[in-house]
Symmetry: C2
Amino acid sequence: MTTQQLTEQILSKKSFLCIGLDVDLNKIPKHLYATEDPIFEFNKAIIDATHDLCVAYKPNTAFYEAYGVKGWISLEKTIQYINNNYPEIFTIADAKRGDIGNTSTMYAKAFFEDLGFDSVTVAPYMGQDSVEPFLEFKDKHTILLALTSNSGSKDFQTLSYNDKTLFENVLATSKKWKNSENLMYVVGATKAEYFEQIRKIIPDNFLLVPGVGAQGGSLKEVCQFGLNKNVGLLINSSRGIIYASTEENFAQKSREEAFAIQQEMQAFL
Amino acid sequence: MTTQQLTEQILSKKSFLCIGLDVDLNKIPKHLYATEDPIFEFNKAIIDATHDLCVAYKPNTAFYEAYGVKGWISLEKTIQYINNNYPEIFTIADAKRGDIGNTSTMYAKAFFEDLGFDSVTVAPYMGQDSVEPFLEFKDKHTILLALTSNSGSKDFQTLSYNDKTLFENVLATSKKWKNSENLMYVVGATKAEYFEQIRKIIPDNFLLVPGVGAQGGSLKEVCQFGLNKNVGLLINSSRGIIYASTEENFAQKSREEAFAIQQEMQAFL
């Protein structure tokens, strides 16, 4: 998918909501345990109930790997279900991968070709030759960790190197890499004070923003400094939407949560 | 496995060799294609031929994920084969994971409990609360990326902050984390000039060292500055050993390569 197609979808749905499919078997409705693949059945119900209110789904691979081969099958079925039924949706493998050159190519093939995701999250620590293999794939997107929403982000990301923080170095340096137009960045909503500065460095790229809601980030502040001419924002919510209820009508409840966020977003577009 | 058990194994085998099981279907002997699971059959042959010359095996997960569910099954069979037949061997999931707290716990469970690895490689970018969930597992080890062997390591890892590089900050900061005795570190052999300084910061931890051989690192220099009272080094070789031949006797050839390295290592112990 091109970024232009993503922007068109956002404007058409009046939403820049991304729903995180972080499925923990201990948190899903008990009646799904009777099905052959509870994780996939859960995802399918959530997707069917919310696909017109969001523009992206983001399974975090940790939640699938934790169930071994069965989990990987659930992940495959989930991405296939989205691609077959809602091809307009932007899909994100939240995998935070990154390795030396030829190994990153293997990861890129796994997520872009074998599984068919539009994008994958990547950690920047190993630098240029660990990220560029992901950038080579046309109309696929690499979402680089820049400033994350967790408390540990202060350990290294906000330390200053040559008058620039590490995450500013990541933004400025990665801009110079080959095919950098395929880059997006993770910036936590809990860091609203940094958005203005971030937009000075990367005015055009999309930002994937976790941390609105439960983690305390403000949608208003993120929009004030984060929006750009292509919208340029994907705001992620996971638990607040997918675990809205553990009753049989859980999918309807998740729709209501997604609808409330979409309505808020509409006002900022 | 405890680090003491690892050291005992090293002294008994007179080897601190780790063999990287980075299996690319395009590079393995063609006669294995006729088997049901060529990746596993390849690994099994290599393991049977080399287990007394090395102390650790390190499958890089990228090479398995690239084959989807089938690859994940090959990975499961490989780790089970090692654990069942050669329980003295230290196993490393080279996965370079790392995410916010509860998500890192899912990864830790996937690799330590579901798959049964002794250790996993983790990227430090997200800081303390992304790494500590891995450190909670008793007798399991978290191998943090510090200074990697690739060219991109200069992009961020060697930037200076208050007279300390990022990777030195990673070493010094992570030492203070809870259960930090379960930490090991990745330091590339191509960075021999840094080993002396690294040992001043972390005298006691094991280092996992890629980059000897093909990438140009010198075993002698790494040993000169890297060895400590518990040996404290695991030197990885992947392609040089596992792709020594594509003939039917490939496993015997890999044994010869491993033997040559073990002989070199013996002299430094």
